[in-house]
Symmetry: D2
Subunit: 152 residues, 4 copies
């Protein structure tokens, strides 16, 4: 069952606008479903890490994967409480915290646009575990990640 437009619009607003550092990165949600989320970022000079090769900074990738894992958990929590009004469900976002994060950097990140994807491997009552992936515009896998979140 897809999310109602109001829930999506509110979650998008929080994620893209109210979480300031997501805005600095330029994270934009593309799909938001109970079993996974995707987003993209466009390359900009401020996001460069390796100036000689114009590569994306690894920190942009780690920040994106952490944010995306959290968003996937939020979507899974939203789907678990379909009877709550959107604003009640979204209050749960404020209680989410990253326990830890791992990022594997597979290939240099260059190009005009990057796509990030996250899915929840397990949503428990206290801890959620996620897997994340980071692609370039040609769908080449550049990085993978895994994270744990506290959810209560």
């Amino acid at each position: 069952m897809p999310f109602e437009p109001d829930f999506i619009a509110r979650l998008k607003h929080i994620f893209e606008e109210k979480i300031s550092f997501n805005k600095v990165i330029g994270l934009r949600i593309d799909t938001l479903e109970p079993d996974g989320v995707t987003a993209h970022i466009d390359m900009r000079p401020e996001l460069v890490g390796h100036y000689a090769h114009q590569r994306l900074h690894g920190g942009v990738i780690s920040a994106t994967l952490d944010a995306m894992g959290g968003l996937a958990v939020m979507a899974a929590i939203g789907a678990r409480h379909p009877d709550e009004p959107p604003e009640t469900r979204l209050l749960r976002f404020g209680k989410l915290g990253t326990i830890d994060l791992r990022v594997d950097y597979l290939r240099p990140a260059t190009g005009p646009r990057f796509i990030a994807r996250a899915e929840v491997m397990r949503l428990g009552s206290r801890v959620a575990s996620t897997r994340m992936e980071f692609f370039d515009a040609e769908q080449r896998l550049l990085s993978t990640g895994a994270a744990a979140y506290i959810v209560s």
Copy 2:
């Protein structure tokens, strides 16, 4: 043996100015020694992750710890080649790549300033391993990290 001022000035310039995303974060090197490096960042509205509590975004922490681990490796490499002129040693910075990164988020990150520290656990001919720590202005440990870098 401490580094010569010219090496430090050049490495500081690369790290703080030429790596654009480090500048976005506001990373400033405080100490740069063969066996460890420290830096700080000042809180700014752009770096916020949790708008209700004005907490630093976890991605700022992961980006900082990744950058600091790399800087520690660069310092260790610099110390291994004391006879090379600074510009030759600094060329090695461009060859450094993060293999993977882990960050443990221990406590919420609030306050006016944060301090990051990194040290190399092992510098091999191909791979270097580091440990990193992230503190608030009162020296409370907020996050820890570990990373592996390719160094050739």
Copy 3:
């Protein structure tokens, strides 16, 4: 292109018999292909971690996932050198070393048999990255892992 039976038989012998601790765990290879490997272990009293619940020890899982990631890398390397005789290719196994490993424990591990799977995300000239999964006999995902290996 599948591997020749001689290569498979020799690699199986090394993995299951000569690596003593794999034998203690009881790791048995089921499939060995250039793009992924699977194996299983049968539950035995020696492998228990949580005596009250008869759960598999987390260390059996981490040891298995580390070994399986290495096996997947070995298969990928074997496929990259199809013209070498099996014994030459297998010498490369001795040069493989784990750089680091992450394991996520999603669900308690109980039951009579467990299945582990590994695939290589990227095989470089110096470093290989893998993802691993650990299932129970009903194909429920119990744990996931990621590891980096030095391959030269």
Copy 4:
């Protein structure tokens, strides 16, 4: 304040005898204090991973570091509830679960004996985070680790 002998004896019995796989590894507790724990294992042919070099299997290290992190959490929990009788405190051991584990392999593990150490970086009401280290008999650091545990 050190632990009472009865608490230590009971915890040692559970850890070394009742957790079967710890016994297979040969894990023996050396020190057990509220702020850290140490143990050792003796090299045996069954624990070998790299037969040509007689190196300890990486899985012995990951299993040991996971077990030691859990023991450190158990010690920290024990210290938090000094008024409970030992058997009550020890019941909490059964509720401990590893969320995830990272191990960095720094140097090949050879020699007659290995020492492992773990400390709790933060003990929360729901999650505990630990750091672990693995040494050879000459106190050379061979591996480091980090883990998160669910503690309720």
